[in-house]
Amino acid sequence: MKLSYEQVRHIAWLARLGLSEEEVGKFSLQLSNILENFEILKQVDTANVPPATHTIPLQNVFRKDDVAESYSQAEILSNAPKQEGNCFKVQAILE
């Protein structure tokens, strides 16, 4: 399995991850190499094997819906890179 530059750019776009041209080149080689190592999984017969999700047998976990104190607006905004009028500030999404 060899990943082309085009495929690397497509995956990066899916992940909303900007990459430099140098990184695209590097990942094309390295990811291909890593994916080759995954080929070994094809040797395993998993015809009647259910997929694992978690390793401990917990199902339908509930807790009481207790009302508890939350954070103030100022606290929640305290780590925001940009804010305005008690809101997170982002760029325009619609023109």
Partner: protein, 490 residues
């Protein structure tokens, strides 16, 4: 012991002196801080040191001890916390540029539990960015150096915590373990590290890497300390729906130097190709010691699916990571690159400049494995093989109380040695990954040296068998002196 050497103490030694009021928490904390000031320039184990907060807390604890009838084992004892665990009011960076200035609004549950015991938090330790790596070289800030040989890596991703404990920059530390990140650095720094059963310790406030594999664990100077920290941090937490509502035993109860009749299996697949001869020899000697101590050793154990663990792990962990790290978009917290024309480009550039190379590599890998057309071939297939790996362990533990293997097939490698070859770096976790895949507990303890470089022994057991692992580890520790050796640092 002179006041300027108190940083060398273990938890149980320091506790005894605190209880007898022979030392104060302030003296102990000052000794640790002095040690940090002296050797951090060589080891680089810490990202943040909160001297003022620590000394203030120590003073408060000292006042409390004056009038208290009983104090808990961790009362007044300084600790360092891996920088992936949220600490209220103390910067928590994950050694990433994207969280460089992030200050959590709340404590992780394990931190609340340590604080309930009146522990003194001294700072946060360096790590591979978002816990992705095996050498701590993937920190966005600086690499940590191994106290046993400063030209070598301390292992990772909890390399800062392990190096700090080995170099006596703290009395103990917390790490996190997704594929070996507590045990492998513990082995490479000759300290004790435990990865608890999945669900045993709350993950609330642990910044998520791969949620079905992550567990927080203690890194300590000996096995008794490991049990004491487990007593403090284990237990159900309603804030973590994957934590289990089982009662927590007193983990010190089974610390007896007697393993007569315990059945220990040695799975041959862990004595892998590429394993260093001195590591093999050390392990054989250690296993012989366990036999001398009365354990029944079976060298004929086989776990044939072990060879698929690396591939399973490097499909599942990056897949979960790619989803977990989607939250870093530069809006609510963290680094934000706004010098772009639209909101998508802003997100892309924030992540381009905020994440390091290894994190990007894993996001790419995970995104690919989860993308349309590849999901069945990679992610679903890996989840099925995961079932087989777990079943194989279940069957083995019907016959054996524990399995013993090397923690790492190699001694600490040179800084830079594996940095350009991700596949070689991934292979250094070959003995620790299967444990996270199966969700079982495992401990790494010092088991010898090869030319003064540490070697670790890994003991694994069935789910919630931490007590048996601690008992075997304790018996071995009592019969050997590896844990008493100190790195020739100064």
């Amino acid at each position: 012991m002179p006041a300027n050497e108190l940083h060398q103490l273990t938890i149980h030694e320091a506790h005894k002196l605190l209880k007898q009021r022979k030392i104060s928490s302030t003296e102990l904390t000052k000794s640790v801080l002095k040690r940090v000031a002296e050797i951090e320039g060589k080891v680089h184990a810490c990202v943040t040191i909160v001297e003022d907060i620590a000394l203030k807390e120590a003073k408060k604890v000292d006042n409390y001890i004056k009038t208290a009838h009983e104090i808990t084992p961790l009362t007044g004892i300084p600790t360092l916390i891996k920088d992936v665990i949220c600490t209220k009011g103390i910067r928590t960076t994950c050694s990433s540029k994207i969280l460089e200035n992030f200050v959590p609004l709340y404590d992780a549950t394990v931190i609340e539990k340590l604080k309930a015991q009146k522990a003194v938090i001294v700072g946060k330790t360096n790590m591979d960015e978002f816990a992705m790596g095996s050498s701590t070289e993937h920190s966005a800030f600086f690499p940590t150096h191994n106290p046993w040989d400063l030209s070598r890596v301390p292992g990772g991703s909890s390399g800062g915590s392990a190096a700090a404990v080995a170099a006596d920059e703290t009395i103990y530390a917390l790490g996190s373990d997704t594929g070996g990140s507590v045990r492998q650095p513990a082995a490479l720094c000759s300290v004790v590290g435990l990865k608890p059963t999945y669900g045993r310790v709350s993950r609330f406030g642990l910044v998520a890497f791969a949620s079905s594999l992550d567990q927080i664990g203690p890194i300590t100077k000996d096995v008794t300390d490991c049990a004491l920290v487990m007593n403090a941090i284990a237990g159900y937490d309603s804030s973590d729906s994957t934590s289990v509502p089982y009662p927590v035993p007193d983990y010190t109860r089974q610390l007896i130097p007697d393993i007569k009749g315990l059945r220990i299996g040695i799975p041959r697949e862990y004595f892998v190709e590429g394993m260093q001869n001195q590591v093999r020899a050390a392990l054989e000697a250690a296993i012989d010691k366990l036999r001398e101590l009365g354990a029944e050793i079976d060298w004929e154990v086989s776990l044939p699916h072990t060879k698929y663990a690396l591939a399973v792990y490097y499909v599942l962990a990056p897949s979960e990571a790619s989803a977990n790290l989607a939250r870093y978009d530069g809006v609510k917290y963290g680094f934000s690159e706004r010098d772009a024309s639209n909101v998508i480009e802003t997100t892309e550039r924030t992540r381009q400049f905020g994440f390091g190379l290894e994190v990007k590599r894993r996001i790419m890998l995970g995104t690919y494995a989860l993308s349309a057309g590849y999901y069945n071939a990679y992610y679903l297939k890996a989840q099925k093989v995961r079932t087989l790996i777990k079943q194989e362990f279940d069957q083995a533990f019907e016959k054996y109380d524990a399995l013993v293997t090397p923690t790492s097939p190699i001694v600490p490698f040179k800084l830079g040695e594996k940095l350009e070859d991700p596949m070689q770096m991934y292979l250094s976790d070959i003995c620790t990954l299967p444990i996270n895949i199966a969700g079982i507990p495992a401990i790494s303890i010092p088991a010898g040296f090869a030319d003064n470089l540490p070697i670790g022994m890994q003991i694994m057991g069935k789910p919630f068998s931490e007590e048996i692992l601690l008992r075997i580890a304790f018996a071995y520790e009592q019969a050997t002196n590896w844990h008493k050796r100190k790195p020739p640092l100064l």
